[in-house]
């Protein structure tokens, strides 16, 4: 039997088909794209955190040779476009009133509210001319008091950023049963309280944001190539909600995109501005951020301060959990901004642990900082950090063993399926087993010897664990469209989009594996509003869950249609035909037909039954997810701390993930490692800092520390595959965000374990060497 057809199947570590293109510079990113007659645009950004714009003088700049247009807030007001709306799923405050949504125009109108806010768009024959012109624009700012930190913003007397939002509060939020939580707290033996900072970070995708716009005056149609991870939703917002040009008149395409992590999910000002400019000038217009602008203007993530309280009994049984969060929104409601500290951070409260009751509240204020929007995990990392940190903290306070405390309180398998106190539909999993496997893989037997070895070198070794539970998200629907070309190639278009995660491989793997065809024949197309009618882009670890399921669903429909062709040839009823390993056959007969033969037959009317049209195997299908899935797992970490300098070395890392079915272990490993790198970055070094005047202190890679390869530990990754979910066709649970959900609490737990002899039981992220050193010194002094 020819076995080549089945080697591409699910579960194989198929090498990434896109890597050769990416790694040899053959990718096509925005900055690689150029159109005839193209002009260039740059954005003049506010140097002020909060100021009235009393005048903008563009006379000199406009007179510069090569300058084509300068667009200011005044022009935008005249043009009469609508502001960019937020799509936050949480839209009501606790009292039922609407969230306060200030008008978010692409250019500042009359007032600026954060450093980096676009003030004018300059279009010229070259980027150098744009920059020369920007230096000649004279903006008069009348400075106003500003506020950078959310805890300051909600205080009486704080500078007011929007008239519609008293005390700068956009909305407040609650979830859970407050009465039951209070009861659990009143009955519990202990209540442990911990204040936590979830530090503000930014994604730093390797490709900054950029876009290229063109306009066809003949047809009235626009084309926008955009480094975006969500082009269908973005098209609807830009074309319908903001510009009012009709979404049918905007062809929105994301070419190769170099990293997203949520930061390219939202609708930003700049692509809208260049769409306006391309029509105005009837020339293509290209804009591309430099790295410094990315720090100023890419939406930031996290930035929550929380008080977490754990109520537990003497024997360690968890009774109740109470979390109060203040989550920074920045100066505007970004695309999903208000959702993150509210709904996004509430759903996974409590993690995989059993509670009588949980009650979560949040306040989401505006500040004079860059808007915040989802960053990998968007709320689940915050929830996981709160849960797994307070377990270790409580264990330290009460003299308990953090491992035993977890073992005692994990939701037992017999409780599943269940609805969590937060309303989360936990259908399947085996938390105790995943926990025991995480412990088992992490070489506990050799630990004491390693502690001794570290001690001999003057170092402190510590071990930490976290058991994360998260949930997927993003748009519930996805389309997968397949058409077979005469040359044997197979066009596969999917509405999910990859910003480097490997869809071109995994989706092709599912299609080719299911149909018994060659993966190399699959030509992948994504992120194009003309390739698929709908598309949910990339976000919420939804790629395989929704997009992959759509590919499988389309594959199945192709097989069913193929059975009819085979039945026609075999002259039997279609329900007698079976399909396996790329072949249609009838059990008990010699009839056989390959998928490739059926594909060849689909364009020959003689080969088709009467009720089939030529091209019947070219199928598009939409999969709709019912309920989001629940990825979960354990992270175990060993660290070695140099108490003299406060330096942390992450010296061992073990992960056991329950992502349901694993399609391509190599891609899953990549997701976990990348997620852990970002989680490690947040735990140990990444930190966006604004000073009290609202200036961004960490405005470049000279100040914003990120992990490098030599900061990363050797990782051992395992998968628990015995609990596939029935919520989607593949049984997958979403792998994309889990790494950065599990990593921060596990790493901080390990550091606090290493420092327990000093009496250090908590340090706020990022655990920089100085913070660690100070914590030790402070503990020694007290």
């Amino acid at each position: 039997m020819d076995t080549t057809n089945i080697t591409n199947g699910i579960g194989k570590s198929q090498e990434r088909r896109e890597d050769f293109r990416f790694l040899t510079g053959a990718g096509s990113y925005i900055d690689d794209m150029n159109l005839d007659g193209q002009a260039y645009a740059t954005v003049l950004r506010s140097p002020e955190a909060h100021a009235d714009v009393s005048s903008i003088d563009i006379t000199e700049a406009l007179a510069l040779d090569g300058v084509l247009a300068i667009i200011t807030g005044e022009d935008w007001k005249v043009a009469g476009y609508n502001p960019i709306p937020t799509k936050s799923a949480v839209r009501k405050a606790i009292d039922g009133s609407d969230l306060k949504e200030p008008p978010h125009h692409p250019l500042a109108i009359d007032r600026v509210r954060y450093v980096g806010q676009p003030v004018a768009l300059v279009v010229a024959e070259s980027i150098d001319v744009c920059k020369d012109a920007m230096e000649l624009i004279d903006v008069d700012y009348d400075s106003l008091p500003s506020v950078s930190h959310q805890s300051e913003a909600i205080k009486d007397g704080a500078p007011q950023i929007w008239d519609i939002a008293p005390n700068n509060i956009c909305l407040d939020f609650e979830l859970g049963d407050q009465k039951a939580q209070k009861k659990a707290f009143s009955e519990a033996d202990h209540i442990v309280t911990l204040n936590l900072v979830n530090n503000r970070v930014t994604a730093v995708p390797i490709e900054p944001r950029g876009a290229l716009a063109s306009y066809d005056a003949g047809t009235g149609k626009y084309t926008l190539w955009n480094a975006s991870q969500n082009i269908h939703a973005g098209r609807d917002t830009i074309a319908d909600a903001v510009l009012g040009i009709g979404k049918e008149n905007l062809h929105h395409i994301a070419p190769d995109v170099g990293g997203g992590f949520g930061v390219k999910n939202g609708v930003y000002p700049e692509p809208i501005l260049i769409l306006h400019a391309t029509k105005l000038l009837e020339r293509p217009v290209k804009w591309f951020n430099d790295r410094s602008e990315s720090f100023l203007s890419d939406t930031h993530g996290r930035d929550q301060v929380s008080t977490v309280q754990l109520a537990l009994d003497k024997d360690g049984t968890f009774r109740g959990l109470r979390t109060e969060t203040v989550g920074n929104l920045g100066a505007f409601c970004a695309t999903v901004g208000p959702f993150t500290p509210t709904g996004g951070s509430s759903r996974t409260q409590g993690g995989p642990y059993r509670f009588d009751a949980i009650y979560y509240t949040a306040i989401a204020p505006f500040t004079n900082t860059c808007p915040l929007d989802p960053y990998r995990g968007a709320g689940r990392p915050e929830g996981s950090y709160q849960m797994d940190r307070i377990i270790d903290y409580a264990a330290a306070q009460l003299g308990m063993d953090p491992i035993e405390l977890r073992r005692k309180n994990l939701i037992p398998t017999e409780d599943l399926p269940m609805k969590s106190p937060m309303g989360l539909d936990i259908d399947c999993g085996n938390f105790p087993e995943v926990f025991e496997q995480t412990i088992a893989m992490s070489d506990r037997d050799g630990y004491d010897a390693r502690v001794q070895k570290s001690a001999a070198a003057g170092k402190k070794r510590g071990f930490g664990i976290s058991m994360y539970l998260e949930c997927t998200g993003g748009g519930p629907k996805e389309e997968a469209k397949v058409s077979f070309r005469e040359d044997g190639k197979i066009d596969l278009s999917v509405g999910s989009s990859s910003t480097g995660m490997g869809h071109e491989t995994a989706f092709a793997q599912i299609l080719a594996g299911h149909l018994g065809l060659e993966i190399d024949d699959v030509v992948f197309r994504q992120a194009d509003t003309e390739a698929t009618a709908i598309g949910g882009g990339h976000g919420g670890s939804r790629g395989l869950e929704v997009g992959g399921s759509a590919v499988l669903q389309t594959s199945r429909e192709i097989v069913e249609a193929g059975k009819k062709i085979a039945a026609h040839k075999f002259d039997v009823d279609a329900d007698k035909v079976e399909f396996s390993e790329g072949h249609f056959h009838v059990p008990g007969s010699n009839h056989t037909m390959t998928m490739r033969e059926a594909i060849d037959a689909q364009n020959d009317p003689d080969m088709l039954p009467d009720d089939m049209e030529p091209g019947a195997l070219n199928i598009s299908s939409v999969f709709e997810r019912g309920i989001i899935s629940i990825p979960n797992g354990g992270h175990a970490v060993e660290v070695e701390v140099d108490p003299e300098t406060g330096t942390i070395k992450v010296d061992g890392y073990w992960v056991m993930d329950d992502f349901g079915t694993i399609i391509n272990p190599m891609l899953a490993d990549g997701q976990v490692m990348g997620g852990v790198a970002q989680g490690l970055g947040q735990a140990l070094m990444e930190n966006i800092v604004y000073d009290d005047g609202g200036q961004l202190v960490t405005g470049s890679l000279m100040d914003y520390a990120m992990p490098r390869a030599d900061d990363m530990p050797r990782m051992v990754i395992g998968y628990y595959e015995d609990a596939p979910t029935a919520k989607n066709l593949l049984g997958v649970k979403g792998a994309g965000e889990a790494g950065c959900v599990g990593a921060p609490p596990a790493i901080v737990n390990a550091v606090c374990d290493a420092l327990k002899d000093f009496g250090v039981h908590h340090i706020d992220m990022p655990l920089t060497p100085e913070r660690v050193w100070r914590a030790i010194e402070d503990a020694k002094a007290s």
């Binding site: 920059k131 410094s292 003299e644 300098t645 070094m685 930190n687 800092v689 202190v697 960490t698 890679l701 000279m702 100040d703 914003y704 520390a705 990120m706 920089t768 060497p769 100085e770 050193w773 100070r774």
Partner: protein, 265 residues
């Protein structure tokens, strides 16, 4: 960047006359600081005089008790040079820890010293090893060369041609890297020769500096125990989001102790 002319002379004399002729000329060595500065539009020279093709400005030689490194020698070459590795291993280690591979392949010792970035590595070596900086017009002792933040004793148009490093009995460089840039948050070069000990500290203050108290203590007893916490007052040290002046003061003591321990072997 703003527009400028680029000139590529092939002799020191030609480079000097091009500099003199330029309205606002600037020498370009490895460009690892200058090019980013130009890209950010933070400098506007009329002419860049590229030293890349100037004859006789690159190479390493050893003679008796001295290692001589020409100004345009790349960090990679210093790191990999067998004579440097044998005579002053601390210098090879220092060079190998500058920036990343790309920076080390382009950056030059002369460029680094002339720029005198307060967080650069080389100034600590030049100062601790009691090097002599040779220019197109004179010789300058290290003690007189580094005059302030990004400031040196170099005169307008003066060009470093070579640095002479006396070979010490023992030396060690310990660097605590800034987590973002991997420049020195604190970098310490300790060098011992003929009962003389020199301790040079970079990254911690506005300019590389020596510490007399630590040197005296180490001349009395060249041992880590000689270095006590608090020997360096924090008052004049740098403070930023990565390290407060108190933490830098602490790190200096730790790094000097570790350098001495390594030098003692």
């Amino acid at each position: 960047m703003y527009e400028f002319d680029i000139i590529t002379p092939n002799s020191i004399d030609a480079a000097k006359s091009e500099f003199d002729a330029a309205e606002d000329g600037q020498f370009l060595a490895g460009g690892q600081t200058l090019i980013p500065v130009l890209k950010q539009r933070l400098a506007m020279p009329s002419d860049l005089i590229d030293l890349e093709h100037v004859h006789g400005l690159s190479g390493i030689s050893a003679s008796g008790d001295t290692i001589s490194i020409k100004a345009m020698t790349r960090h990679t070459e210093v790191a990999a040079d067998h004579e440097v590795q044998a005579a002053i291993p601390a210098l090879a280690k220092l060079a190998n820890g500058i920036g990343d591979m790309h920076v080390r392949n382009r950056g030059t010792i002369g460029g680094s010293i002339a720029n005198n970035d307060p967080a650069a590595d080389y100034p600590a070596a030049v100062l601790a090893l009691h090097a002599t900086i040779v220019t197109d017009r004179r010789e300058i002792l290290a003690d007189h060369f580094f005059t302030g933040m990004f400031e040196t004793a170099l005169e307008e148009g003066e060009l470093i041609t070579e640095i002479h490093f006396p070979i010490p009995e023992a030396a060690s460089y310990m660097k605590f890297a800034n987590p973002a840039t991997r420049y020195a948050l604190v970098g310490v070069m300790v060098a011992k020769s003929h009962n003389n000990v020199r301790v040079a500290i970079t990254g911690a203050g506005p300019c590389v500096f020596r510490d007399a108290e630590m040197e005296q203590a180490l001349m009395g007893n060249f041992s880590p125990e000689s270095i006590k916490d608090g020997m360096i007052p924090a008052d004049d040290l740098n403070t930023d989001i990565h390290a407060s002046r108190e933490y830098r003061a602490h790190l200096i003591s730790v790094m000097v102790r570790r350098a001495v321990a390594e030098a003692v072997g």
